[in-house]
């Protein structure tokens, strides 16, 4: 009984920690273009991000329980805690070596590893669906943002100031929508791993606000000032692509990394110009983590589950 209480408490704490880290780390990707373009202030961006994460989690986050139920049918508290711990550890290590790693990918890998170790793995078809989505999503994102930008750049506005104003308003709407889908998908998956109930949702919302307001400051400055020195159409196309893809994945109840969709969309945006200004090396490096992170988590999950 005491062990159960300890485990329940640990799961809640780990859920809080994981959500806090994800919120703090991913805020910049969601609201960075709007903050970097100085359309909104950093604080207002944080507010939009936190509101979007929370709304997404509350409205659509429950859909991610399917992933946890399929990958971890036993639903044992210990495994939930271990899966969260693995995801947090990999995230922290990756952050220390400045490698972009997706928490949702780590979680799926960890859950699958634990499940296989326990001999409870029965979701080969679902894992295949997830793997297909992870391969298809970047390719779709590249193509989508590529053609979207080509179309945007081909059109000649009669009043370019009006178009600029539309871009700015859209960037704010997209900052909210990107945060929303991240809340529904990645944060939804974390909360589902912790057990999707009122307590974990309340803890997650608190973690979202703590992470957003206390952990994102440096990251948002770096991303908005260094990485997101994008032109308005580029920023708009990449955020729109990311929103559409992650929302589609959420509707299909498949976890999809927001940063995976975003990074691919950025790559596609760069390719859409006649004079290419895209360096393939960082993109390929990032893409390699999409393979390494879930496999590493799977291996750790397998080891932990076998102990």
């Amino acid at each position: 009984m005491t062990l159960m209480i300890w485990l329940s408490t640990a799961v809640v704490i780990l859920t809080f920690a994981a959500v806090m880290l994800v919120a703090g780390n991913n805020l910049s990707a969601c609201v960075g273009p709007a903050v970097g373009s100085r359309i909104i202030t950093k604080r207002f961006g944080m507010l939009i991000g936190a509101a979007g994460f929370s709304l997404g989690l509350i409205v659509q986050g429950a859909g991610m329980t399917r992933t946890v139920n399929l990958l971890l049918p036993s639903g044992v508290l210990q495994f939930r805690a271990e899966a969260l711990l693995v995801a947090i550890l990999i995230f922290v290590i990756a952050d220390l070596i400045r490698a972009p790693v997706s928490v949702s990918m780590s979680l799926v890998g960890g859950l699958a590893g634990l499940s296989v170790a326990q001999g409870a793995f029965r979701s080969g078809v679902y894992v295949a669906e997830v793997a297909f989505m992870w391969v298809a999503a970047p390719l779709i994102a590249i193509a989508f943002s590529f053609y979207l930008l080509r179309i945007i750049n081909r059109s000649k506005p009669k009043n370019f100031w009006r178009r600029l104003q539309i871009y700015k308003i859209l960037l704010i709407a997209l900052a909210l929508s990107t945060s929303y889908v991240l809340g529904a998908n990645t944060i939804g998956l974390i909360v589902a791993t912790g057990g999707f109930d009122l307590t974990t949702i309340a803890v997650a919302v608190a973690a979202i606000f703590v992470g957003t307001f206390y952990l994102s400051a440096g990251e948002i400055r770096r991303v908005s000032e260094e990485l997101f020195l994008m032109r308005y159409p580029n920023a708009m196309a990449t955020l729109l692509t990311s929103t559409v893809l992650v929302e589609a994945a959420t509707l299909l109840k498949i976890p999809l990394s927001n940063t995976q969709a975003l990074a691919s969309a950025v790559f596609g945006a760069g390719l859409s110009y006649k004079s290419k200004f895209v360096s393939a090396k960082p993109f390929l490096l990032t893409a390699s983590t999409w393979v390494i992170a879930p496999l590493l988590s799977f291996a750790i999950g397998l080891i932990l589950g076998s102990i």
Partner: protein, 223 residues
């Protein structure tokens, strides 16, 4: 509330509006120069006009400082900050060159008053044409700054470049003439006319550079 209001603000458009104020000041300074060129060296209004240009220069510097502050602190895309700052600097230089010309005219008048022998060659048509080109360039620049049509801006850019080319030709013809009458001129007069020609061309070059920067800014924020 400030953030919500900021959403509706197109910072770049506001900056263009502020820059057009400096273009207006440059046009005023140019109009004064036209008058100064027509004045006799002994005319007391020459110094008065020079002071008026100086006041305009001071006003342009104040507006320029405010524009630079608004560029670095306003709702402006970081991609165009450098180009917008260059815009402010370029149009500031145009007004500054107007001040140089006015000072040179005033100083030359002092030299003539002090007894320098005047070898009057009829330069009025040359500088009239130059200042007329500057006036046209500045008017087109203002039109470009207030335009919301990319095609119109591109067309104005071409027209301003053409005006610069015409100015270049006039300057070359002016130099040919200057060297032709060089034996009749003293050093100070030669230097004076040479400087005037260079300064007028510099203003036209500044206008053309400014027009190119406008195109660059608009392209950067749209594509």
């Amino acid at each position: 509330m400030k953030s919500i209001k900021g959403i509706l603000v197109v910072g770049e458009k506001n900056i263009f509006g502020e820059l057009s104020q400096i273009v207006d000041i440059a046009a005023e300074a140019n109009a004064l120069l036209e008058k100064m060129f027509k004045m006799a060296p002994t005319d007391s209004k020459l110094t008065e006009a020079q002071r008026a240009v100086q006041t305009l220069h001071r006003k342009a510097s104040e507006v320029g400082f405010k524009v630079s502050e608004d560029i670095t602190g306003g709702a402006v895309s970081p991609n165009v900050i450098d180009s917008l700052l260059a815009c402010a600097a370029t149009i500031g230089d145009v007004v500054h060159t107007c001040l140089h010309i006015s000072r040179e005219l005033d100083r030359m008048a002092i030299a003539y008053s002090a007894g320098l022998e005047m070898h009057h060659a009829d330069w009025d048509p040359v500088f009239d044409r130059m200042l007329e080109l500057i006036e046209k360039s500045l008017a087109k620049l203002k039109q470009a700054l207030l335009s919301s049509d990319m095609a119109e801006i591109l067309s104005l850019h071409k027209e301003i470049q053409a005006l610069e080319d015409r100015g270049d030709d006039i300057k070359d013809q002016g130099f040919d003439r200057l060297y032709g009458i060089a034996p009749q001129l003293n050093y100070l007069e030669f230097f004076h006319y040479q400087k005037m020609l260079h300064n007028c061309e510099d203003i036209l070059n500044g206008c053309a550079d400014f027009a190119s920067l406008i195109v660059s800014v608009v392209t950067s924020i749209l594509k």
